[in-house]
Symmetry: C2
Subunit: 130 residues, 2 copies
DNA sequence: ATGCTATTGATAACGAATCTCATTACCGCT
DNA sequence: AGCGGTAATGAGATTCGTTATCAATAGCAT
């Protein structure tokens, strides 16, 4: 028995908060959201939990502006996001063609276990008109 | 004439160093490389020059492990990357189909100025076999 | 050359993420 | 249920990449 994993309410809290979050969230914002909701969870714990989730494949992560953003990863509803860089509005988009492309391009170069980051940023209709 | 751009040896030094670098380089390593070569260039200047190059489309940038990496970018060659999450090896990939898809999906939802993040991670051939 | 001002660079400041370590509490065992 | 070991927690300190500050420097038009 090399490593033993324990179940704590903190891990579950992070998992829940992440699942209920829309789009990508930073560790810090998730932490303050939890605190605002009355939780006494620590920041370091949120970082650890998110790292574990990402490592276990239960969360997707991407890096933007020098910070890591996380998103709950539901295996049966893979999709990407169209995000407004002004107001943060996000629209879910499906892209089967892109999924196939990512897989094939990875295989083409001998890469295994492909995992892709595909997100489109822009200005939404409202923000474009201002 | 609202903004005037001046040519300094520092900018050229960064441009040259970046061009001569193999693969992606961090601002800090580029800075110490320049210092090691006898240059007295400052760190902040390297950051500024790299930011300008990236903004002007003369350099590609990606974020990994919380730091930004840069590489000289030959103009008119927009491409994405296939990155090994183990050793960091990167392969340039072209994806015209994805470019078109990003544009159309953005327009479809009323988004303007589309800008997309498309990167594929995986294990390269060498790292897969270990 | 001269004046204006963009640029530089040493350093301070900032922020995200990690580390430390004493305390807590999960979980197998009896 | 009670115990013991030990993984996990969390407040604070620390690391590290990046940006801001601001006096000094140097590019460029005249």
């Amino acid at each position: 028995m090399v490593t033993m994993k324990r179940n704590t309410w903190q891990r579950e809290a992070v998992r829940n908060a992440l699942t209920q979050s829309e789009g990508f969230v930073s560790a810090q914002s998730l932490h303050s959201a939890l605190r605002d909701a009355g939780s006494s969870i620590g920041l370091a714990t949120v970082y650890r939990a998110l790292g574990d989730l990402a490592g276990a494949g239960d969360a997707d992560s991407l890096q933007q502006d020098g910070e890591s953003l996380f998103r709950a990863c539901t295996p049966d509803s893979h999709h990407h996001h169209l995000i407004c860089r002004e107001c943060g509005t996000t629209v879910e988009i499906k892209a089967d063609a892109v999924e196939q492309w990512a897989k094939s391009v990875a295989a083409e170069h001998g890469f295994t276990e492909p995992h892709h980051i595909v997100d489109v940023f822009g200005l939404c209709r409202a923000c474009s008109s201002t």
